[in-house]
Symmetry: C2
Subunit: 350 residues, 2 copies
């Protein structure tokens, strides 16, 4: 994508390792009072301000997690941050700092790093987090981005995967399946492009799901909403691998079963019509697609009234005793089908 801009490209060797890091991080400043010392020392210093510290790390690898054929570098930088902030939000904590490590082959010029860091800067700005450290190195091939995110929370606010109790309500934020259907559009149009580079990609009308895939957002707003509603989730996880897989994680760690109602799964109209276009059951996209970065959590049934009409939340099921297992209640029937992390043969086509 850089080539298209016909820019003069600067090899990384022209700046050197220290020079590159300085060039990339010079524009970042510290905004949070908990960020006591940022980039430039042996380590950064964080003042936890009497809170607990949560920390998470994720690797994104070229050819595995992203395809630079259709993912702009700036979006990649933004998304790499979001994915990690989502993990912090899934603890019901507030993200405050990130560290960014990168390994890139010498096919990436300084301008490519600039684009990635522009995306990282945008995410830092949007989510009010500080870049406080990192490392950059050359590698044998490809691009590897590793982001570590740090967040703070009071002890009584933290939500683990392990606290759900039978009869707790299963709640999800936003809508699901969009990121997966966006990926299908990108891959279809990329194949067309590879066959005939003169063909214009047909992306029009797919904006919402393309954005869900290329520029997802982390639900760092939910902690505040839950606090205002006076709700502490009994368990929580973010949806990175698909609703089914995440429910099974909560089940496994909370030692409960779940009933999930297919007809309750929130989906955008565009997700549904695009699934139709690909002859897929839209529920499959929600259950197994992943990358929606919405939050899935359980609450005490006593909190039902507080949440039931809230536009940010949808109640999609409830916890049971562990022995009752994990089941999907199919749309328009009482029929149960076991919830598994993969192989939705029954749902794959309509």
């Amino acid at each position: 994508m850089l080539e298209e801009k016909k820019m003069a490209l600067t090899p990384v060797s022209q700046l050197g390792e220290f020079g590159l890091i300085k060039h990339l991080t010079d524009k970042f400043s510290l905004k949070n009072s908990s960020s006591e010392l940022g980039i430039g020392d042996d380590a950064s210093i964080i003042n936890p301000e009497n809170k607990k510290v949560v920390i998470s790390t994720d690797v994104l690898a070229e050819g595995v997690h992203f395809n630079l054929g259709y993912v702009p570098l700036k979006h990649l930088g933004y998304k790499a941050v979001v994915v990690n902030l989502s993990d912090i939000a899934a603890m019901n904590a507030t993200p405050t700092q990130i560290l960014v490590s990168m390994a890139a082959s010498n096919r990436f010029p300084v301008e490519a790093f600039d684009e990635i860091y522009a995306g990282i800067a945008l995410a830092c700005e949007h989510y009010n987090v500080d870049l406080v450290g990192g490392d950059t190195t050359s590698s044998q091939a490809g691009l590897i981005l590793n982001i570590t995110a740090i967040g703070l929370a009071n002890e009584n606010e933290l939500a683990k995967r392990s606290g759900a109790k039978p009869n707790d309500l299963l709640v999800v934020t936003g809508d699901l399946g969009g990121a997966y259907m966006g990926l299908q559009i990108l891959e279809r149009e990329h194949s067309v492009y590879l066959t005939n580079p003169n063909m214009q990609p047909e992306m029009e009308g797919y904006d919402y799901i393309l954005e869900r895939q290329l520029k997802p957002e982390a639900r760092t707003d939910i902690k505040k909403t839950l606090t205002e509603l006076d709700i502490t989730p009994t368990s929580m996880i973010d949806i990175s691998d698909g609703l089914a897989s995440e429910i099974l994680h909560l089940s496994d760690q909370s030692k409960v079963g779940f009933r999930l109602y297919e007809e309750k799964i929130p989906m955008d109209t565009l997700t549904i019509t695009t699934a139709d276009e690909f002859n897929l059951n839209p529920a499959m996209a929600a259950l197994n697609g992943g990358e929606d970065y919405e939050l899935l959590f359980t609450i005490s049934p006593n909190d039902y009234e507080k949440i039931r009409n809230h536009p940010d939340f949808t109640i999609i099921g409830h916890a049971t005793e562990l022995e009752q297992g994990n089941y999907l209640v199919l749309r328009g029937s009482e029929q149960l089908t076991p919830l598994t992390a993969q192989g939705w043969d029954a749902l794959l086509s309509k």
Copy 2:
């Protein structure tokens, strides 16, 4: 090296991503009271116990930072942890947790990960730190290891790079240049091996410097020693890139100059004799070699008596006003030569 053991090798695909992480991390348990929640949730939870949190991250890339032709995987895992703990020690903090991310091409079987994690486990045990998180992914080529280390310290104990004052004493732990001379031996013997695989490598008698290169240690013991001596360093850094480069970092961030005395630089006899063998000035190995992972720090001149006969420390120079610049005082003379991070032409050969 795995091939030599004639083991049955297991492709990573046999375990899958979740399976591999579980397989690798199952044996780790949490030892520190500050480690509230380890691997298995969206993020780990750290209880800072009223201290400041310091955090650092480093990438090690195959072909850039290590050569698997002569670095055993277990040593690589150990060293990757040590490098990061050294950064925490350089803040005068106590390391408590690490997170480990890895990207590896499919030429690495499960047994290779086992070896790396055996080294990581050994380091965790030796330094009393907990593995609390991480991520593992496949990559297009090579092996990338990213470790994030966390440490705790009281506010008044922390030592940044920026606190040195004119007349402060410049102090270093241990001895320098050994890791660099160890690398010269490894590279020489590796070249011989590549030319004639039947030749036995000549490693005998080089144990100390080989260990300095292959299995360095982080000086996490120094914080305790300094506390016992009632010394808080005014500035501190670890020696990863060579003594000269680190002095210039302290100079830059503390806004002071330094006088370094060549004859005071502590070196092991084996480092000196090996440098002789390669026709190098041993001081060059200390000044520009790097990877010694000793600590370099400044103390108030008032603390001179506390430290001057301590076996862990050597006073190698002192800080001056910034305008006086950074100079090396050559051995056996009053002659000054400007201290630069590279290009020790005057010292390269005797």
